[in-house]
Symmetry: D2
Subunit: 345 residues, 4 copies
């Protein structure tokens, strides 16, 4: 494929909440794409979404859609446990693919995906949408331009406004809080600061005791020592009752940059002795634009034959940090990242 | 026409900067619309935009497009002096129309438009996008719900970050600053507080002396007394060099509400003795969502046969306030709104 | 008197709420002063305050205290109607004096004070404490240093958090809202922008109908045209129910400066969908430091024989603007400042 | 001593920078105190300060001043290594004492001080001024009142705006960064959350390599597990180049409270694409009021025979946490607080 004009014919796999948002983006909001097919094991959902967005084809079998010659590229937003099979299938058919984070829940699975991607030589882009958020992107530009001097300390906070369902939280499917929530912060840590050498972590089930029944925690703090000797700290909570709050700071030798905001609408209410405003409800309100920009970037990369800005290795390394943090939290010991390995990775 | 499912087949007139944004919205971002035709006197522009957004038809003559039976409804965003003819034509063909503000530059022109709209009985919606901004809309809801008690004082500030071209600023085409910029604030004043009884105003050409050559001012303050006896004040500037800044406050008996923000991206940079962030570049960054929501609302209203939330009368009355303010500023005298009349209005 | 070391022996007249704060400042917080005597018509109050702050002497007759040779300088914070007699007496005895704003309620009274001060040649300093607030002082420095370029528009807002007593509000003793509250903003307008040429104003009794019984208003807006052609606007309210809110902005050709804050303590509370903080209760919390700095400046000026930074003319001109605004509000007409005159001023 | 009226006759030991601020507070700003004597090994400094604040007596030998019968109570703000001897001497003479943090640099020294204080039964108050900062005090009240529900996570950040001298930073005299800077945060951790069970910490010398010559670090992160199972995290830096930044958050089950601010004066400057304000220069600007309130509280406690709100045990336990954190940082292992012991404590 040579760089070309025109729109990329995309097939979308997975039509849950995020999948529907992706459908709208791919169908109407991204000039570089056409949504030519959707797939979901629930065939009625696929039919419904196809109707809503004027998508010509719909499948209940994602593999069949991958085989469809009208589909030039794939966007995979199905449940994590399906990623391995789908990514390998796409690579096998030589079709460029975008895969939502996390790549998988075990290093072994990611090793297999990585093997398929690299042996096929086909384009693959890992999804970490925070890198496309205008705030995070602006911070990266400022730091790369030397605005705050050498980065010394990375701090990041992720707070969900309510408890997920016990089914969702179950570490067997979510990977546990330090992977499920933390993988975004681990990816940011690597993006802003480079490789991590060692992690220690504490965690507890103190907000929602019922999470103990599935073996998950609801609050955690992880400390990072980077390969460069710099420091980092990440704190996570599932009980940020006031709203969805994602904030990151990079402290440099000549200044500091903070990313994050806490307000949804532009109004402030002043009552007796009180000034107040609202908060950001959840991730879709905070990162709506980032999701769109990320898919647009994927399409542009494929069309213009640019390298992927986020690779399967980025997915692998962020997962490795999540696994290290989980192990550190469970054992109470510092875990070096180098000791967290899987088959071949 | 009875309420119906499906998308509204829209024809768009005027393909300048805002027109292209409308084209994208109507073509891809609003589920209730299809963009079936575009028109612009510059036929090549019409052709180009049609190609970009897959629009089946394009016209260099807007009146021909209005006649096209494939066009169910019209969105008019062409220069102000064309509004009268186009609105009257749309009304004559019985086609629902949305018209960007200001309705026209003279009360007489609006009188003619109003006559055409009301005698035809066809749907007509006036464009004042601030009412659809989530911040302004939330403020209106809060006030209507009694959150701040009885509103007492309306304050509004509009600041453009740079001088328009002298051609644009010329009052013969722009109406002058108090109409061109102020009409949004005058509409908000009426929306939040009701009818205005009298206006006084001061203005000066103190930032850009060259504006005197076309007879416009660059800074102004208008004081309003509402029919209810409540007070208002609006200040306008074309020299808000730091960024685009639109803010409004409604002070009530039990509190106050402020709408507005000054930040574009979610980063804060802290350097030696200094904390800083960026600003909002211009109206498109500030009100992008409002424009989309407004057109969506128009389509929904037509499809569901709902009444227009903003009528030709709203356009007429906001213009009347602008004319009154201009007259007050030029004469140095308080002008009662009742004395500002045109043929039949 | 030549510049000298040591502390200035101050006599304080007026021991109401602000007077007691001044007593504490003069007795213990200002290294350049000693409080050697206090006077108040209520002799028991004078005795009580003297005991609290270890003041050697106390008087029920202020004139007797002015005669006391142990008193080197006077601080006058008694009711406004007493200012004329006391200032004239201090000037007659050749004693430096500080007088709290407003100088008086009529231009004629101020004319007499001015005559006494200038013919005696004795030091006199007018009290307008906002000029000593670190925020306002920093803004003045920045503007004088050219930080925002040429100032174009002055905007100022003063809001009291509750209605004063009807006795206090009575224009016969307060001068009416535009003088009583506005005199601070008028002084700031002159300080930042220079002389005012004309004022128009609107006002209404819309928050507290009972104020009509004494003839005062509770909300007002005044528009100013400066001698330089620049513009200004001041809005005042007695119903800023949420807290004491004083804010000022100077918009310049290259930027804008805003002074003001709305928070008393450094805590922010985030609850479900809500971020809030407290507000500034009243003027003493907002301007506590400004009051102290102002008296310290007075003492330093006297000790070091420096000229007064705020003169009786500043008091006179601010009052003249207040009178002009009141007249404009009552007549509905623009009032030129030049037409507001009293005997000899 | 029974509760009494009148002022407490205080002797002040240590006249460095903070000592002079205390001298001014005790001499003039706190109604409950008189400063009757000052002591400093540099006799000329003592003489100078005595002259400046009208203090009747001055000493070069603090022990001689402790013996002076005119001195009712002592405020000790001399270098940390002198605390043990002075506190024991004060206790021996039965004189109430206030001692600035840290109590000492070793648990053994504090054990001796504790023994002297408890066996004498005399009043002793430990200095941790943050507890008297209006922001921290308001946060404590809100939390105790249940405003945010059960506290779950404690987060605290302390940032100094520049490197201390190498002499000062030397752990032999400062205790090292985790004690020197961290002791305030450790005290806050205990105040808000109760006892700590275990600490892990990372630290590095990454901002000022020259600190390695004296064996100190310049950035650190400590993770805390409280006895209740709740979590905490503290990050410290000596390279907060932008200003002095102290902020703390307590995340509760029903909300969160943040304490801290970043602005010194009330002005905001808006320039092209940029909104900025200043920062807090250093601790004296941030906590000036807290220092005064703390000494006032000490005097009131002595005069009214109230128990000390902060005891030698609070000093001991905060130091113990600092020692634990230092040990954890140096060994890379989690340290249980119970294992950090000294002779008898």
């Amino acid at each position: 494929m040579t760089p070309r004009k025109g729109r990329l014919a995309v097939g979308l796999i997975g039509l849950g909440r995020l999948g529907r948002v992706y459908a709208r983006d791919l169908a109407g909001r991204i000039p570089e794409t056409r949504l030519v097919a959707v797939a979901d094991p629930l065939g009625t959902v696929a039919e419904e979404v196809a109707a809503e967005f004027d998508v010509p084809k719909h499948y209940s079998d994602p593999l069949a859609m991958i085989d469809d010659s009208a589909v030039e590229a794939l966007v995979i937003v199905s449940p994590t446990h399906t990623h391995r099979e789908l990514v390998i299938a796409a690579a096998g058919r030589g079709k460029p693919a975008f895969c939502e984070k996390p790549p998988a829940l075990s290093l072994e699975e990611v090793a297999a995906m990585k093997q398929a991607v690299s042996s096929s030589g086909v384009f693959f882009q890992m999804g970490f949408m925070r890198r496309f958020d205008p705030g995070y992107a602006a911070a990266k530009r400022e730091i790369d331009a030397g605005r705050i001097g050498t980065p010394l300390v990375f701090k990041s906070t992720s707070r969900d406004p309510f408890r997920p369902s016990l089914e969702y939280a179950n570490p067997n499917s979510s990977g546990g809080m330090l992977i499920d929530m933390g993988i975004h912060d681990f990816d940011l840590a690597r993006w802003f600061m480079g490789d991590v050498k060692a992690i220690s972590a504490i965690g507890a089930t103190i907000a929602y005791p019922e999470l103990e029944s599935v073996g998950d925690i609801d609050n955690a703090v992880a400390s990072l020592v980077f390969a460069s000797g710099k420091l980092g700290v990440i704190d996570l909570t599932r009980s940020g009752i006031y709203g969805y709050d994602i904030s990151t700071e990079i402290l440099g030798l000549e200044g500091t940059i903070r990313i994050g905001y806490l307000r949804e609408t532009a109004i402030t209410v002043l009552k007796k002795n009180n000034v107040s405003h609202d908060t950001v409800p959840y991730f879709m309100e905070r990162f709506r634009e980032a999701y769109t920009l990320q898919l647009q970037n994927f399409a542009q990369n494929v069309l213009q034959e640019r390298a992927a800005p986020i690779t399967i290795d980025d997915g692998l390394e962020a997962l490795r940090l999540g696994v290290a943090a989980t192990r550190a939290q469970q054992t109470g010991k510092t875990v070096t990242v180098a000791e967290v390995t899987g088959a071949g990775v």
